[in-house]
Each structure stands twice: as C-alpha cells, then as structure tokens.
C-alpha cells in the first residue's frame, strides 16, 4: 500500500515542469477509474486504499461484443458456421478492453449487420440437413408442424435469451414463424425463429432484471439465469448451455458456493482456454501486434507471420501458469522458459524446436525468459528504434501497474535529434533535462531502460541504435528502492510487488464487469486481492473469488428502475 501512495506523489509531479494548466488534467490512462479529468490522476491507486463502505459499483446494460456474439451463435447452432461477425462495425476499445458497456453503442449499420448475420445463420441452419437435425431436432412438416415450431421456439429462445420464455415471448417468436406459413419451404419458419431471436434485444443485450435483495433494499440480486450468463460469457465467451440454465432455474446458482461449483466446471471446459485468452491478450495489448509494421530492411528477420506466432507464444506462456490451482501466476514474469516455433526461435537465437510451437528452456546465455522478454511485448512497445524505453516504460506502468499516466501535453516538443557520439540513453537523458518533459519522462524512460537489450522486434542486441553499448540499469520512481539492472532484476522486483498483483485484479475486474472500476468498487477489489494472495496468487483462486463476490452476483438498485 505504501508504494501506491508514493506513486501517487510521483504522478502528481508528472507535469510539474511548467506545462500549461490543461495539460495537468490527467486522464486515466488505463481507462480504469470512471470519470475523466484531473480527478483521476489522484484517484489512481486509491482503489486499494479507499475501502470504507461496502458498496457496489454501477451495472450497465451490456451489449454483446463481437466475441460474445460469435461464441453464442456457435453454442446455439453448432461449429463451422459462416463468419458473420467479421463484418460488424468495430467495437470501441476503452482502457484496453473492447467490452466496455458504456462504449458499446448501437447504430443503424450494426442493426443491419445483425440482420444480415441472422439471415445468413438461419439459412445456413435450415440448408444443412445435419445441422438442422442437430439444432432443430424435429420436422416442421405436416401434422407435427405446429408442435415442432413451438418446441423449437421454446428451446432456441431459451438458449438465445438465457432464460425460460414466458407466454408472451413464446407467442412473439411463433408469430414471426407464422409469416412463413405459405412459404414453399416448410423450414423457412424455423429460419425466421432464428432470425427473430438473434435480432431481439433479449439476445443482443445481456438483460439483468434481478430481484430486490430482501436483506438490503439498495441492492438487486441477479436471477440464477443472469448469474449463469455472467459466468458463461466470462469463462466460455458464450451464452450458457441448457444444462447450466437448468441448474440456475432450480436455484443452484443462488449462493456463492453454487456459483463457485459451476465456475469450476466451466473452467474445466476446453472452451475456457480460448475465452480467457481474450482477456489475457487484451490486457497485454497483444491485438496491437496484428497491425504492427516494421521495415524489412531494418529488421531482416521480420515477417508477416511473426506477429501471430508472437501472440500465440505469449498466450501459451500464460496458459502454462494460469490454469493450475497450485501455480503462482506471477511466475509468468520470471519463467525460465518460453514458447517458440522455428522462426521465432531464430529471432531469439535459440535452437529451433522439432515441430511447430513448443516449449523452449532458456539457458543463462540466452538472455531470455519471462513475460517481459517475450517478442510480442517487445515488438508492440517497439514503436521507434531510438525511443524504445519510453514505450516500454509506458507499457510497464499502464498494463502491469495500472498507473494513470497523463497523455502527452497539448504541444509535444519533439525528442531532440541525436548529436554526434550520443547514445540513445544519453539522448533521452538530455531530453529529461528539459523541465517541461522531465516530469513524465522520469517515470517512463528509466523504467524502460531495463529492456534496452532487445530491439524493436524483440531480438537480442548488444548495442543500441547508435552503436553504443547497452546500459540496462533503470528504476521505477515512486517505488522505494526500485532499482535494477536488466530485464531479470526488473522482472524479479515486479514479481514480488503487490502493485502488480493488485493491477491484475483490477484488470480482471474491468474485463469481467465490462466497465471501468470506480471508487465504489474499492472494497470489492481489496477483497479480491486478499483472496488472490490467500490462494497463492493462482488465477483459479482469483477467478473463483470474483464470481463469488457480491459484485458478480448483485448490482445496485437504480432509483428509477422497477
């Protein structure tokens, strides 16, 4: 906790160098705390300290993300469907995550794409006898037609809308099916039920009605099916299965133990790996890699296939620590091994694995090991060859420490060009003698120096872009005694620092709740970190603590709501 306070002091000093007043309005860099402007610069870190009252942060009506839409239709209609989601408009990214409920707006083009997607999926279902048999399970033909349509609408609607339909809801879907009564194709009515269900607000929104908590009238307790939906969306990236809805509807998810039991089962589902990778990838900014451009003349080892491999390798490293109850996930920072295929091993200068992507155990001379030496991280922070430490320091502070760095001021003086005989490091040091720059860059550059021995695509180097020998001594100002030489000392310090584990808690919370955290979430975050610590910093312990929490199972009651 002490370190948070020190950091806050350092942050407040960031702009002390004589910039304009408006520049001091620090936005929350990680998209963490709700609210913008000057307040967030101070508020950062407070989440861990301000637990004074047991409160719940806000809950918003969440629109399905593209990822959740894709996962849900696969559960509903089976694998191997046409990719309908690629045509959806971009979901805005806030604070690194694309599932921020406040940012997920709806416009007419999205509604059209939902319509096109539903029509495509409806046609793909009725046009494929195997899929049709699997999904529909009866034939809407002859005397059986009415019963089949009703049975299908009831089952499909329940899965799509994540609760058992009431009479009005069922009648609504059947009325749409009726529009195809005269169609030459008797299956068209089935397609229309699919189309109507998938375009309904009950599908595209995660509706949470809840019931007023009898013990606390300021809170609304989510219904079992709504908890099932939160669980399944988080852990499987999909609408819940019929079996999970069954359990929810008999009350098995009405208490924390029941939710935990269900969560543990979902975590054992093979689909959980892919779903949770969505979280890890966005947290570590890995989607940026897909759009990285590097000059092949400058980096002969660069290739079009490397970014995807780098991403896969880092996620494999995380998977190695994120699933075992006995594993300390912080060890991902200090792991003496990583994953690579032949091409990435070539970049790393280590022996290529026999086949595909495989684990590589690093020796001391390999200068490799742990998350910070992953080519993915080093490349996505490798924006400019001579300014590498800046972006790497920014990554450490934002992604791993959840600090809210203010944006660059309104007028950015360029980093001065190098003078003859000056190293990259000396150039940045000279830049920091400008008081207008030193406030923030004192936080950024020395943090990034620890990774100076890797170039802009993550290859090891012994000299910087000017040919000067690497000097990897650095520090994290605001963190008492936090000085290091090189990536491994840096990683070891981060590994044991509570700021890092607290940040991971916050990042999971933001992703899981689909919103920025607020002061009202302070006690929740505190409790989660305690459970994380008690559980030996295992990810299953953190995830279980999260789904057991009041924040996961309840929401505040809104004054104007029914």
């Amino acid at each position: 906790m002490r370190r948070w306070a020190l950091t806050a002091v350092a942050m407040a000093a960031c702009y002390r160098g004589g910039s304009s007043d408006e520049s001091a309005a620090a936005h929350d860099d990680t998209g963490g705390s709700a609210g913008t402007g000057a307040d967030t610069g101070e508020a950062q870190g407070d989440g861990a300290e301000a637990c004074t009252a047991d409160q719940l942060g806000p809950a918003y009506l969440r629109r399905l993300t593209a990822h959740e839409y894709r996962g849900s239709v696969e559960t509903l209609l089976g694998p191997g469907l046409p990719d309908v989601v690629g045509a959806f408009p971009d979901d805005p990214v806030v604070g690194g995550f694309d599932n921020n409920a406040e940012a997920l707006v709806i416009d007419d083009r999205l509604v059209e794409r939902w319509r096109d997607a539903a029509e495509t999926l409806g046609a793909a279902t009725i046009g494929d006898p195997d899929r049709r048999a699997l999904v529909v399970g009866c034939e809407p033909i002859g005397d059986d037609r009415a019963a089949c349509l009703e049975d299908f609408a009831r089952r499909f609607g329940r899965l799509a809308w994540r609760h058992t339909l009431d009479d009005d809801e069922l009648a609504g879907l059947l009325a749409v099916a009726d529009a195809a009564a005269d169609d030459d194709d008797p299956w068209q009515a089935i397609a229309l039920v699919i189309e109507a269900a998938l375009q309904s607000p009950s599908f595209v929104f995660r509706v949470e009605r809840g019931d007023v908590d009898p013990d606390d009238p300021t809170r609304v307790r989510l219904r079992g099916t709504e908890v099932a939906t939160r669980l399944s969306m988080l852990l499987l990236g999909s609408t819940p299965s019929a079996a999970l809805l069954d359990r929810a509807e008999v009350g098995e998810l009405d208490d924390a133990d029941g939710v935990e039991a269900a969560a543990r089962e979902l975590l054992a589902d093979p689909r959980a790996r892919a779903a949770m990778r969505e979280f890890y990838a966005q947290w570590l900014q890995l989607p940026v890699l897909e759009h990285v451009v590097r000059d092949a003349a400058e980096h002969p080892q660069w290739s079009e296939t490397l970014p995807a491999t780098m991403t896969e390798a880092t996620l494999a490293l995380i998977d190695a620590f994120a699933w075992d109850e006995a594993a300390d996930v912080r060890d991902v920072l200090t792991a003496p091994f990583g994953f690579a295929d032949a091409e990435l091993a070539g970049l790393y200068g280590v022996a290529a694995p026999a086949d595909g992507l495989a684990q590589i155990d690093y020796g001391p001379d390999d200068r490799r090991g742990g998350l910070l030496t992953e080519a993915s991280i080093l490349t996505l922070t490798g924006k400019s060859a001579s300014g590498l430490p800046i972006f790497r320091g920014k990554f450490l502070r934002e992604a791993l420490l959840c600090e809210s760095l203010p944006p660059p001021p309104a007028t950015v003086p360029a980093i001065p060009p190098a003078v003859e005989g000056e190293s990259d490091r000396e150039r940045l040091e000279r830049h920091r003698t400008d008081p207008a720059c030193s406030g923030c860059h004192a936080l950024l550059d020395p943090a990034g120096f620890g990774l100076a021995e890797y170039d802009a695509i993550g290859a090891h180097r012994t000299v910087d872009s000017t040919g000067a020998p690497i000097d990897a001594r650095g520090s994290l100002s605001g963190f008492d005694g936090f000085e290091f030489d090189g990536p491994f000392e840096l990683a070891a310090l981060l590994h044991d620092d509570p700021a890092v584990s607290q940040c991971l808690v916050r990042q999971l919370f933001r992703y899981g709740a689909g919103r920025r955290d607020t002061e009202a979430d302070a006690c929740t975050l505190d409790g989660l970190h305690q459970a994380f610590d008690d559980g030996g910093f295992s990810m299953p312990a953190l995830i279980v603590a999260f789904v057991r929490s009041d924040a996961f199972r309840e929401r505040p009651r809104t004054e104007d709501g029914p």
Binding site: P89, P92, A118, A414, P417
Partner: protein
C-alpha cells in the same frame, strides 16, 4: 419521366465486369434540386497529422492568391473552393485525440469519446430523415482499435459522432458499402425480394415489441440504450422499401478481393466513388470520410513514391517527406471533388450543391499544435458561400467555422460546441 427505379432492378445487369474506377458510367441522379428546395449536402474529409503549412497556406488573401504545392492538386476546382487558414483549434492533452475529435465536433475527446456531436451528424439529425440514409460514415485505414493515453480508440478512428461519447464506426469495406447502398442484385419485382421484405418487416415488428416490453422492466440508463437500439431499428425498417434513384453499375464479382489487394489509395478511391454515388443519388446528404486515422503512421507506397511512416515523419520534422504525404492526401480530396463536379444536377453539379470540408487534426504536424489549422471548403453550399478565394483568419475559433458551415447548409442552429460565434469573413 422519372428516373426513379427500385434499388434492386438496377442490378439486373449483374455480371458486367467493370474496371476500377467504377463510376465511369454516367450517373443519372434524381432531380434533387429540381424542386429547388433540397438542402446542400455537408461532407467532412479528414486527413491526418496536420499539414506542412509552408506548402499549403497562400501568401495572399482574397481571390488572387498564388497557388501553393498542396493546393495544386485542387487546381481544377479553384473557383469552387475557399481556402481557410488561421483557424484556432482546441488544444488539449494528446494532440491527436484532441484534434481528431475537435476536427468535426469542436470539442475534446474524453475517455469514452468526443464531447459532442460532429457537424454532419447535427445536420443529419435535423434534416437527414428524408433520405434512405441519414448519414454515412466512411474510412479507409484499418490500423487496429486501440485505446491510447486514456482515450477510447474511437477518438483516433472516428470523426462521426451522433452525440457525446457516441461514435458511428465507419464503413471500410467497399464491397459491403456497395451492397448496403445498392442491394444484393435480387430483382426488386421478384417473388424472392417481396418475400424477403415481408419477412424483414415481420422480424422488425417483433424486435420493436420486445424493445417496448424490456423498456418497462429496466432503469433509465438502460432505457436510453434500448432507445438507441429502437432508433436504429426504425432507420433500418424505413430502408426495407427504400428505392435508389439513379443507375449504378453492378458490383464486379471479383471486386472484394481485388480491392483489398489493390493498394491503400485505390481502396480509398473505390470508397470515394461509392460516397460520391450515394451523395449523387440522394441516398444521403450528410457524410464523413476519414482518409487515415488521427496520428496515422501510414507507411510507404511504392506507386506513389512515399517513403517512411507519416506520423514519425511529422514528428521528426522532415518537411519534404511531410509534403509528399500530404500531397497524396489532398489528391484524394481532389478525386472526390472530381466525382461530385462531373455529376450534373440542376443548373450545376452535385459539387455546387454541397459543402465539403477538408481538414486535419493539427496545424503544423511537427509541433503537434492546434494553432493555424488549415481547411478547404469546397462547393459553396448552393451559393451560400462565396468561393474562389483564400480567407486568411487569425485565430478564429474552430467551432465558429463549424457553426458557419452548418448555417450555410441551411441547418437551423444557434450554437455549436458551446459557441454562438460565426465567421463573417465567410
């Protein structure tokens, strides 16, 4: 004789392979100005990273200015342009997020997005409902959605905002845009098309009933989200039976793959062709076009002799390289003006009945300042703005330019982005 035909019957001639650009075929627009009452179109055109002003700003004000290297690509349209210099932007932290947001809204970005609506959306909300599309948002660059420095990704990748913190994500795919505007080639009169339209109505009726039911079950914040959904659904509903009123070429079968491989600026021009088509045909009157994202680090282009990466170049202050990038960007603006100028309408061209505002997020890209923002206004808004001159201003506020553009386009607004000031010089 009316040239109005249904959207699908246009496409009966499907299979006619057209080389790019698509719009060599003469458009036959609906006589939009025949009645003389249609409001001018309003379009924004965004280019990134400021401009090297010494290559842009004419030395002289007024009609007799000597052209400059960055105005040369627009020479053919000189009589239809107002070059505006000396606009004071809205400076704020992260000059790219601030400037990209302010370009069309006059306001800064917050964590969730711009702090107010963009000009073409203000116009669309007031006067856009008599066209099939209230507005169109189009962009070229796909540099990834990434939040930076505490700002939503939309602060860098959108210039269209229907309200504060409410981006309209742009369309980037020419083939998808073509289908959206002009249909899938199913003949309108066919049984198939009629049946499809009936089914769509049936599904939308159902969606509306569901929205009404949910609305009664949720709190005010959530109801606002449902209302946004309902508004979007109603727009889509109206389009089920909408007609496109000019002849358009069919979509060449191999276009989608070809266009994504054809190079950045070829794809930009395909999108501009479609935008021009939509504006000419009366599909919409209001649009935004982003040639690149704010802070674009658009890269080398062998065909155009562009080297390096634009944002890095701007920071480094390589003036000649900056000129080369910006010249290519202005040339794309010229391409749009060419398309609008060659489409005749009433006593002039579609361009004459439009106001197309080209601008960028910074003044001079190297200093990343919001001072001396450069703009070009093209078309004159059906004569509401006197064209053929350079209006040299000295610190006139950006929102005053916005408000002036809106008013000259016949939009009834007294203030925009908190200002009631307009630019008398225009």
């Amino acid at each position: 004789m009316s040239t109005t035909v249904s959207r699908r019957s246009l496409l009966r001639g499907a299979g006619v392979a057209l080389a790019l650009p698509w719009l060599e075929a003469m458009l036959r627009p609906r006589a939009a100005s025949a009645g003389g009452t249609a409001l001018p179109r309003l379009v924004t055109f965004f280019v990134p990273n400021g401009l090297p002003l010494e290559f842009f700003t004419p030395s002289e004000a007024g009609p007799d200015y000597a052209t400059t290297p960055l105005l040369d690509p627009l020479a053919a349209h000189r009589s239809k342009l107002v070059v505006v210099s000396g606009i004071q932007g809205v400076g704020g932290p992260d000059s790219h997020a601030a400037g990209t947001s302010a370009f069309s809204t006059g306001q800064l970005c917050s964590t969730l997005g711009a702090s107010g609506p963009s000009i073409e959306q203000v116009a669309a909300a007031q006067a856009g409902s008599d066209t099939p599309f209230r507005s169109l948002a189009v962009a070229v660059q796909d540099s990834g959605q990434w939040s930076s420095n505490g700002y939503s990704s939309a602060c860098f990748t959108n210039t269209a905002w229907s309200a504060a913190e409410t981006p309209i994500p742009p369309e980037r795919d020419p083939a998808a845009m073509f289908l959206r505007l002009f249909g899938d080639g199913t003949p309108e009169a066919s049984l198939e098309a009629e049946r499809r339209a009936a089914y769509r109505h049936s599904v939308i009726d159902h969606v509306k009933v569901d929205l009404a039911r949910l609305r009664g079950q949720l709190g005010a914040d959530d109801r606002a989200r449902l209302d946004a959904h309902l508004d979007a659904v109603r727009q889509v509903e109206l389009r089920i039976d909408a007609v496109v009123s000019c002849e358009v070429p069919s979509l060449p079968g191999d276009l989608p793959a070809e266009i994504w491989q054809a190079g950045y600026y070829r794809r930009a021009q395909a999108l501009l062709d479609l935008l021009a088509m939509a504006l000419t045909c009366g599909s919409t009157r209001y649009a935004s076009f982003m040639l690149c994202d704010g802070a674009s680090n658009g890269g080398p282009d062998a065909d155009l002799a562009l080297a390096g990466q634009h944002h890095e170049i701007a920071h480094a202050g390589d003036r000649e390289a900056m000129r080369q990038f910006s010249a290519v960007h202005v040339a794309q603006f010229a391409y749009l003006l060419d398309r609008l100028a060659e489409a005749s309408e009433g006593d002039g061209s579609v361009l004459d009945h439009a106001l197309v505002m080209m601008g960028t997020e910074l003044g001079d890209g190297t200093g990343h300042t919001a001072n001396d923002l450069p703009f070009v206004l093209a078309g004159g808004a059906s004569g509401a703005i006197e064209t053929g001159r350079h209006v040299a201003l000295s610190g006139a506020p950006l929102a005053a330019l916005h408000l002036t553009c809106l008013q000259r386009c016949g939009i009834e607004v007294d203030s925009f982005a908190g200002t009631g000031e307009t630019l008398d010089a225009l």
